[in-house]
Symmetry: C2
Subunit: 177 residues, 2 copies
């Protein structure tokens, strides 16, 4: 890792650009020769396009799928599995943060994991406290908690103004996945 | 180019993620094996990080710097130069669109070029009309005109919620450039 002050960046809101902008940040950092790790708190959110791109970009841009899928209607034992997976992702984030290997870590959909009670906001705040000084952390997901926003340096809300599905257009290869 | 319906995507708003999310879209498309061209209407907006990333990504991800710099206080002959450069960029966009070489073309800061009168909104609307069916077009820049939004399939507004420069933190290598 290089010497500098790393930022805590949050991409939130109901629009499409949250994960996409995190990808762009990762690409820009990778272009600078930085090492970038994406930890995915919600399985299935990262699609073929970005997984293939990471593959082509080599060992300095790594995407790791950690959590389970979206949980809107999950209950009982299945919810316990989701929580276990999210807790594992959080531990993994801490280990990787402390390893000194990564210049930027993207915690994708961690806001979602907080919102649905898969991880506590306190645990995530502790993680932010433990951030090595020079490391950049990017947190994505809608409905970012105010406590997270308070800790962040740069917060952007992506607002959906117009969405093609509402016009009856199907998901597009290379755009959505 | 592959067979499908391409989208017109607009990233606008006062926040940081507009160009960054376009980069992410480009990376995802490139991961799918698509060919991506970035045409930059405002010189200097794309920095070392992304230029280096494109370099590392090879011939299927190309960034071309076309326009002059930002024009806020430019007047007289210098403004004529800026307009000439923006018109050149627009012609270049049309030629590349029609060439059939690219699956995605990113017209970076074209909204800005319209806002400052470097190109007319009518000329850009004509460009959108001429889009090959399967090609994705991404337009970035704040203050997107309503006529452009009306033509678009997917529009996202990036809103700045919190910005580090306001806290006195300097621009960060790998994040801002």
């Amino acid at each position: 890792m290089k010497e500098r002050d790393g930022l805590i960046i949050v991409n939130t809101g109901n629009g499409k650009g949250k994960t996409t902008a995190a990808l762009g940040l990762g690409m820009r950092a990778w272009g600078q020769g930085y090492k970038v790790l994406v930890l995915q708190f919600i399985k299935g959110n990262w699609k073929y396009g970005e997984l293939q791109a990471a593959e082509r970009m080599g060992a300095d841009f790594v995407i790791r799928q950690m959590g389970e899928g979206f949980v809107r209607n999950v209950k009982g034992d299945a919810l316990v599995d989701h929580k276990d997976a999210a807790e594992d992702a959080l531990c993994n984030a801490r280990i990787e943060m402390m390893s000194g290997k990564w210049d930027m870590i993207i915690l994708d959909e961690i806001n979602y994991a907080i919102k649905f009670g898969l991880v506590s906001v306190e645990a995530v705040l502790e993680l932010l406290e433990a951030k090595p000084q020079s490391q950049h952390l990017v947190l994505t997901g809608r409905d970012a908690r105010q406590e997270i926003i308070d800790k962040a340096d740069l917060v952007t809300e992506m607002r959906e103004i117009k969405h093609p599905y509402k016009k009856g257009i199907q998901a597009q290869k290379g755009i959505e996945f």
